[in-house]
Symmetry: C2
Subunit: 380 residues, 2 copies
């Protein structure tokens, strides 16, 4: 029987249904219950985030960030063009003008050396996206933020359990460095809850208000802590919090974080070592991990020499029922934003749009599966 | 042993875990899968809604509605003051000015006869809230919308399986009448998924764009239908869709809708009949169901003669471990909005804020439980 290898298959640790049951039978199905707190405390303690609030998606976490920063019409936000639409939408919804920065030549993440030239007096925030879970050079970004009085929102959608070591030699978890950081637990991520996300709030100035926005603009949390004698509408807000069903599912995953990460890193290394020579022969590129970054094995990608080469490889794999996919299309060239962006070229972003392929990477893959993928990939 | 009666207890039909398992093991955990479609089709067919899209909350459905209507800074939106903050926040987030209308004297829903005087040339939408699942007089509201060229967004958070019969004698499901309608499946509702909601789109003009906003501003749905050859960023949007885990849970509930509704209506009727005489003696009021409306037994409330009487009753019940609760605080008097609203009085909204009590109403209550609640309620 020919094997079929999907691009992704959600991995279950085995405890998900048990915890979902538990959430259900303790009678707490809406948000902000036992499992929500377990998950939030886990992140806070393990990664040193200031305060953590689960959300229904990373998109919602980014929208909370934009609200917390009071982004308004006319404000400018600097972000990579090579990213998911939600990085952009969260700020467009508040009326911001997006200022796109190009990717690095050696990595799809934003080029930290091209940010400063884009800063104007209207700039309010920089949104680095840790592509493939690989850190942006946060020292450079935080220094710019300090120099110009800007906020930094880390889009850490792909960056769970990944780290950055700055010039001070201190290894910091991604998501713990910016004023705010957004994570995703979408089914394609290392740790999943179907749809889901989290906002990490590192700047203490935002902590109280974050809780209010999360509670639909009410001071309900303060009420339950006995700090006010009745609760009411005190601010804007939304229903950002996920059901306990989702949090219970997520908790089963977090309990197995180390096992999941270990396996993914094994898979990633097998790809990297198995492809090293062949990729060079083909004129393609493997992922680059800067010395200040760690690899959380969120994604294994290769960068082809041309769009034609990429299409050829995707088709070759598909013929053998191996599902590989490309990734983002440059947002500055999107139907929605190209008119606003204008003609400023972002050549590396376009290159990754046209040349990057992501290979299957999920827990359940075996060494043998990856050997097979490598064999098909290298076949004529 | 003394019995403890909570205000609400989520009811499980027994199939929830089974369907959640199924969603998980078919490998589809993110949104827009089999269970999402089952739920959406169910609503469309049973209630005649134009198009249905599940959301992570009713709040998110209302936010989608505000985006679809292109609500902008300076626009005015008419809504009741006696409602949940999300009815208001969804429009405030788009920059709208809220214009609050008072409740009816005989019902907490908005007074349909006080809307027209609030319409200005800036008015864009009317948002009737079907309080306790009891219809607003939609003929009056739709006539105003037509006369002034306004949109109507039904806040049907509490109004599943409830109907309105207009002057034409046709019985229409709540949520099928306005241009758009938002539903909630929060754990306190008749049909639940922990946190969850749905937007019903009845005006065909909004259907294509609704799908795009729901897909984070991309034309991904059109791509999967083969209508475009690649998908990209074409509009604003957010991550409105819930996980299949949530949709699977919801589907188990929907399969048992009739049984749930039958039982809740029995409970409601037992309260109503058991309290009829006593309530009159006490100078209190029972719920009023206009002849054009049905009762979906979402809530059983009583309206006290005074705030002191209400506090006395809540305490009396609490002493016997029966948990009753009051409901909204008038939004026009909230810390967040009172400065903008000004001094215009909304006396009925304030009366319901101060005098209304909700009694326990959930599937698992027995006839005996309700007898007991009635006995405690009527005791000296």
């Amino acid at each position: 029987m020919e094997r079929i290898i999907p691009f992704n298959r959600p991995y279950l640790t085995g405890k998900e249904a048990h915890y979902v049951y538990d959430a259900v039978y303790t009678g707490k199905l809406s948000g902000n219950g036992k499992y929500t707190h377990l998950c939030q405390d886990f992140f806070k303690e393990k990664y040193g985030f200031g305060k953590c609030l689960l959300t229904t998606s990373c998109t919602d976490a980014l929208e909370m960030a934009a609200l917390l920063l009071n982004i308004k019409s006319g404000d400018e936000v600097i972000l990579p063009s090579y990213t998911f639409v939600s990085t952009a939408n969260a700020f467009v919804l508040r009326g911001a003008k997006l200022v796109f920065v190009d990717s690095r030549e050696d990595h799809p993440g934003m080029d930290e050396n091209k940010i400063e030239e884009l800063i104007t007096e209207k700039t309010r925030a920089i949104v680095p996206v840790h592509y493939a879970g690989v850190a942006c050079d946060m020292d450079k970004i935080m220094a710019l933020a300090e120099k110009y009085g800007l906020y930094v929102v880390e889009d850490a959608a792909q960056a769970i359990d990944s780290y950055y070591t700055g010039k001070d030699g201190v290894k910091k978890a991604l998501g713990s460095i910016g004023h705010l950081a957004a994570f995703s637990f979408h089914e394609t991520k290392n740790i999943i809850s179907g749809e889901g996300g989290m906002l990490a709030i590192n700047d203490p100035d935002f902590m109280d208000r974050a809780e209010i926005l999360w509670e639909k603009g009410t001071n309900r949390s303060a009420f339950f802590r006995g700090e006010v004698d009745k609760y009411g509408w005190v601010d804007v807000g939304s229903s950002f919090l996920p059901s306990e069903i989702i949090a219970a599912f997520l908790w089963a995953q977090l309990e197995n974080l180390e096992e999941i990460q270990k396996k993914r890193i094994e898979h990633w290394n097998q790809y990297f070592e198995g492809l090293n020579d062949w990729i060079r022969e083909q004129g393609m590129n493997l992922p680059y991990i800067p010395s200040y970054a760690t690899n959380n094995a969120h994604m294994f990608y290769i960068v082809c020499e041309s769009g034609a080469q990429r299409d050829f490889i995707i088709k070759k794999l598909k013929k053998r029922k191996i599902h590989s996919v490309f990734h983002y299309l440059s947002l500055h060239k999107s139907p929605f934003y190209k008119g606003i962006h204008g003609s400023r070229e972002l050549i590396h972003s376009d290159t990754y749009s046209d040349h990057l392929i992501r290979l299957p990477l999920f827990f359940q893959l075996t060494k043998d599966d990856i050997e097979y993928i490598l064999k098909v990939l290298k076949s004529k």
